[in-house]
Amino acid sequence: MANIDANEVLIDCQSVWKIFGEKAPAAMKAVAERGLSKKQILQEYNCVVGVSDASLQVRRGEIFCIMGLSGSGKSTLIRLLNRLITPSLGKVLVKGKDLSALDAAELRQMRAQHIGMVFQSVALLPHRTVLENAAFGLEVQGIAKAERNRTAAAALEKVGLGDWLSRFPSELSGGMQQRVGLARAIASDPEIILMDEPFSALDPLIRRQLQDEFRQLTKELGKSAVFITHDLDEAIRIGDRIAIMKDGVIIQVGTAEEIVLNPADQYVADFVAGISRLHLIKAHSVMVPVVDYQRQHPNSDIGSLVKTTPEADIDALIGLTMQSDRDAIAVADNGTVVGVVTARSLLAGVKGTPSHEQAAAA
């Protein structure tokens, strides 16, 4: 954690706990002193552990997905990041500032200017037009009407609702309503956008479309996002990094590729079992070292192999292999061949086994 440049980390969540219940403080103390389990806390104190010892860092420009089933504590965790819920123990630093040290006014300012939020239920105000809804965040900050309407209209334009400004939320479809929610969040131009299962209630086609648009827009605007979902496909589609949560604990954090190739435990392994590897796994994960390849194929000339980059996915590698008359592809980084992808390593990749385990098997 110390080796990450502090300027780059926008949200730093340090061993955060949240325990719900009347006797939460006593339960928290018991956890800290005696290390009680979740079940013991429930029995002894009648308290529920929502989030347990969660640590994560969200870097500038990154989309960070938190994936977990219902009851895993992911919605609690995202609310700890803007202190809609106050942690029982641990610290949340946003842009280097400890949220629990802020007073009410400073916290409001932090939320208004630096942290946007989009809700699963959208939470549009029914008696306001689309434009007034999108401008709402700016309105409560006291920005003059002409200016906030201009900014909100621009935000609505970005999410493709430029023609709907004077409509009411009830006239919009679910997908369009969620775009208004997103426009409202980006209108205040925050560095961080918290997305609490924003697309869960939408039908699959619209959901995929919004996922792609959201990713593109976030990258274009250079925002960081924390995205909550119960759908691993969605997490993989959107997230640069994914945290997997279960029973209030973050069990694994990594890129989609890392998680699929090296699941931390059986729970994660079961989760990723059904995920297609074709676009997920990249050449650098399945390639075998040049020396190994040469040992097995002493007569092969590496220089004459078709070359690709370490970022090429399995789908692309299969395509290249089919076009080529040789049985291997060379992976080159800046002109230097760093490894070789063989038909065998491709099959292993499709199955989800990383190269170092292939080597061990061979």
């Binding site: 809609l84 300012q109 939320r111 200017q113 939020m117 809700f119 105000l125 029914p126 009411f168």
Partner: protein
């Protein structure tokens, strides 16, 4: 001490309290009296300053612009009826009394209702008081009110306010409890101040139920104002009382129907405001 002679009589303690209040706080009560009287007389004078036809025309036009044509026709008919049966001045007095009573009831009930929705212990404390206020026969309030403010419009209005507070307070609490949690969360997440959350999120979301509360408050206050005719509040209530004491069937019936007309007028006007809001939200 035998059981049969034992009697619980809170009046023994209450009556001296009222007397003590009267003796020691007379200037305060006199001040309240004169303020209420002044406001009431002002409204009455305003309502009666114009010729009846002119006032009816203004109300009909306003209803047409602000609500819709049906309410505007109904307002015309209701006011026209009051004029036709010869109870115009009494009707205006009653409307003035109800307006002042409702305004004060709302001023008291609305903030208390919000407080009760925020602080559960306040709600728990207020609920039995409201139950008592609503179930004790209204005549009973009139007694201390008359003892303190003597006969006339002031005790009538005090009793009416006491009667009008419970529905408004209960429905205010309900309205604020019903504001969706995600809307409140939104307010916090965008960094809105508690004041902004109240005025821009909670009150608009609570508005339909609040208007139902206002509606109930108006109708119950009207019922009470009529009853207060007994203590010399004037208006239509006095006409009903006169009809009763003199056994004049005709007067009683005319006054009774005029009360219905005023009730319909006030109810439809306030309900019209509610419906106007809904159509805007939907369309």
């Amino acid at each position: 001490m035998n059981l049969e002679s034992f009697q619980f009589s809170p009046g023994i303690y209450l009556a001296p309290t009222v007397d003590w209040l009267n003796a020691n706080f007379h200037p305060l009560f006199a001040f309240i009296s004169s303020v209420v009287e002044t406001v009431l007389s002002g409204i009455e004078a305003a309502l009666l300053a114009l010729p009846a036809y002119a006032l009816i025309a203004i109300v009909v036009l306003l209803a047409l612009v602000l609500v819709n044509i049906r309410v505007s026709i109904l307002a015309g008919l209701a006011l026209g009826f009051c004029l036709l049966v010869g109870l115009w001045a009494a009707s205006m007095q009653t409307i003035a009394l109800v307006t002042v009573a409702v305004a004060i009831s709302v001023l008291i009930a609305f903030p208390l209702g919000i407080l009760a929705s925020r602080v559960k212990s306040v709600e728990a404390a207020i609920r039995p008081v409201l139950d008592i206020m609503q179930t004790v026969p209204p005549w009973v309030y009139l007694i201390p009110a008359v003892m303190i403010f003597s006969l006339g419009r002031v005790p009538a209005i005090i009793a009416t306010i006491v009667y009008g507070i419970p529905p408004m307070l209960r429905l205010t609490t309900l309205a604020f409890n019903q504001v969706p949690k995600d809307m409140l969360e939104l307010g916090q997440a965008i960094g809105a101040s508690p004041r902004s959350i109240l005025f821009k999120i909670e009150i608009p979301a609570a508005k339909p139920t609040l208007l139902v509360g206002l509606n109930q408050c108006i109708l119950l206050s009207l019922a009470m104002v009529v009853l207060a005719g007994l203590v010399g509040a004037g208006g239509l209530g006095a006409e009903v009382t006169r009809g009763l004491t003199r056994m004049e069937m005709g007067l009683g019936l005319r006054a009774g129907l005029a009360i219905v007309a005023v009730a319909l007028l006030l109810d439809r006007l306030s309900r019209g405001a509610l419906q106007r809001d809904r159509t805007r939200a939907a369309g």
